[in-house]
């Protein structure tokens, strides 16, 4: 429970979103398509969704 709170924090969806974004980035990076834009956009989207949920 302590490590869950410590690493995952208040919103587990943020951690899951980041994991998925890392996976997509790694997949794209293995192709010829540029992948640098995935993580910044994913972070912004995940953060906004988490904030909106908290502000309801």
């Amino acid at each position: 429970m302590f490590w869950w709170d410590f690493i995952v924090g208040d919103d587990w969806r943020v951690a899951v979103g980041i994991l998925l974004a890392f996976g997509l980035t790694a997949l794209l990076a293995a192709t010829s398509v540029p992948a640098w834009w995935v993580l910044p956009l994913a972070v912004a989207a995940v953060l906004w969704l988490s904030l909106v949920r908290a502000a309801r």
Partner: protein
């Protein structure tokens, strides 16, 4: 080093509030013993894990460190944005101090190993729990930038500065702009988390290391925009 310094400053202010409350209510011996043992435990964590991290291949290290920094950074940033936009109460060190003192005054007396056990354990837990995240930041930043001691010096400098201020004023440091510091820490952790995490996942940033200020500007812009949008939403609801 700056990230470790700022994160350490925020966490030390929070831990100091509790140690002060315990010291003034239950006596300084147990409060300082608890804080001292916790500080030694944190130093042992850094000393033990630091050398282990240096043998991990840099790409793997960047992926793991990037992921951890992102998860930590987004926790800091989320909380700071909610506080800055009025959706979450700003942490009130005076209120925490008063609550801790009231609880300490009514807790039963029990002496173990020559110290007041309640005072020791509360002080120990406060310093250990607040300091653990700083220890991780020191380890992650230090290992990816090749100097754990430098990051540790940054964190230690903040501890010394905040503790000296606490000794001088002998009350909680409620005027420290905690949320501004937390916002800055969140922005930095998130920026480095994106940068190193993407590199670890196999990304080549356009312009190489020169892309880092661009990522920082993006994170800052997004964070300020979210504060403004949530503030407007808050006003509309009120």
């Amino acid at each position: 080093m700056l990230s470790a310094f700022l994160a350490s400053a925020v966490e030390t202010v929070e831990a100091l509030t509790i140690v002060l409350a315990i010291g003034l209510t239950r006596g300084w011996r147990s409060a300082l013993a608890g804080a001292g043992v916790a500080t030694l435990a944190l130093a042992a964590v850094v000393a033990a894990l630091g050398p282990a991290l240096t043998v991990i291949p840099i790409e793997v290290l960047r992926l793991v460190v990037g992921g951890l920094l992102l998860v930590f950074g987004l926790q800091w940033l989320r909380k700071a944005i909610l506080r800055a936009s009025g959706w979450k109460a700003i942490r009130d060190e005076d209120a925490v101090f008063a609550r801790e003192r009231a609880e300490a005054a009514t807790a039963p007396d029990e002496e173990r190993a020559g110290v007041d056990w309640y005072g020791f354990t509360i002080s120990f837990k406060a310093v250990l729990l607040e300091g653990l995240e700083v220890a991780f930041i020191v380890l992650t930043f230090g290992s990816t930038q090749g100097s754990i001691p430098l990051a540790a010096v940054g964190a230690a400098a903040a501890v010394i500065l905040v503790v000296l201020a606490g000794i001088l004023v002998r009350e909680p440091l409620s005027r420290v702009p905690e949320n501004t510091l937390a916002f800055a820490v969140g922005v930095m952790l998130t920026t480095f988390g994106i940068f190193w995490g993407a590199e670890g996942a196999g990304v080549d940033w356009p312009g190489g290391d020169a892309a880092l200020p661009g990522v920082l500007a993006f994170v800052l812009l997004v964070s300020f925009a979210f504060v403004a949008m949530l503030r407007r939403q808050r006003v509309a609801v009120a």
